[in-house]
Amino acid sequence: MRPFAPAPLPLDRRLPLDAALDEAFAPLRERTATIGAARVRAAVRWSAREPRPLRGLALLTRVSELTVAAAISAFLFAGSVASVEAPPALPDSSRDAVTAGEWTLNGRNALQRPIDSRATDYRTTAGDLAANAATARRADAVTPAPSIRDSEPFAGRP
């Protein structure tokens, strides 16, 4: 128990105090606010609820937006997957023995290929041998040209 806890005031001392406080607050008790409910509504941006047709239309709009978003996402995904596929392989002309041999003969003026191309095979011995063999076969396959007589000056021309 607290030794100096406030004991209730005796009634004969409380009543004048009550009267003094009542009198002091009396003018304030007559004061009224001049603001209206519209100011509260403006403060909270009061808005009436939307009617149901508008809610259905809003739902349809949202579904349309989602459909378009899904289509664009699918398009972007498909494009990204297709872009990582390996490009079609270019025909490697270095495997053609004749071409490889020609490149060898041309020397430094030969057609330059990318460094990662398999066309560098022309430097190999196998490539040289194949080129020589092909040249020999070409020489064998050459047919003798038909003789053109002088009496037919324009014969044999295209």
Binding site: R2, F4, A5, P6, A7, P8, L9, R13, R14, P16, L17, D18, A20, L21, D22, E23, A24, F25, A26, P27, L28, R29, R31, T32, A33, T34, I35, G36, A37, R39, V40, R41, A43, V44, W46, A48, R49
Partner: protein, 216 residues
């Protein structure tokens, strides 16, 4: 107790409904229900804010802020009977958390009408009454915040101890203790003014230091 005139915008049909029904109607989108709640408690909250801040424009803003919070919380408000404790609690917190305007001091709540003699009252009596009122309000302002709010809610807003306890969220015994302490301190302060006919402080037993130690 005289019934106060019906506030502007309060219709008879809505007046019959309790706060709980009005809250549910406002939650369902009935704007007039929220307006009726506003006009039902607007003046009480305004007076409470005015007594604490002594600034009429601040009191207006406290009213708006209090009901704006009520509107935002309308979905979860479930008043048992009256919405008043919830609204007053918000208003008290807003009043004490409000920063005073820089360079502006409000020394009095007088609106210039207190010195006007009433019927059958002499001008000297009116001046004496106004002076007595000024002294009492100064003594109330000198109280600490937790004691002042109890005095204001009890003597200005007319709330009983249980309602005050619900507003400031303390037990009823604590409210009673604070009110007694505030009245004792007021009496001590008022006894220093010889024109107010209050007995000296020595007559009450406990000294000022003892009361302050109890308050701590």
């Amino acid at each position: 107790m005289t019934r106060q005139p019906r506030a502007k915008g309060e219709s008879l049909g809505a007046e019959l409904r309790g706060d709980r029904e009005l809250v549910h109607a406002a939650r369902a989108g009935e704007i007039l229900a929220f307006d009726n709640l506003f006009y039902r408690y607007r003046d009480g909250i305004y007076r409470l804010g005015l007594a604490i801040t002594k600034d009429p424009s601040a009191a207006d803003e406290i009213v708006v802020d209090t009901f704006a919070r009520a509107h935002r919380a309308i979905e979860r408000l479930e008043p048992d009977d009256s919405l008043r404790p919830w609204l007053y609690r918000v208003a008290v917190n807003l009043s004490y958390n409000r920063r005073p305007r820089k360079g502006v001091t409000f020394s009095s709540l007088d609106d210039g009408t207190e010195d006007i003699p009433t019927d059958g009252e002499s001008p000297s009596d009116a001046a004496e009454r106004a002076e007595r009122r000024r002294v009492v309000l100064e003594c109330v302002d000198a109280l600490g915040a937790k004691h002042k709010v109890v005095v204001v809610l009890h003597y200005l807003n007319g709330l009983n101890l249980a309602e005050i306890a619900e507003i400031i969220e303390v037990p009823v015994g604590t409210v009673k203790s604070r009110l007694h302490y505030a009245l004792r301190k007021l009496r001590v302060q008022l006894s220093l003014h010889p024109g107010l006919d209050f007995e000296p402080a020595e007559a009450f037993g406990a000294t000022e230091e003892q009361m302050q130690s109890h308050a701590r």
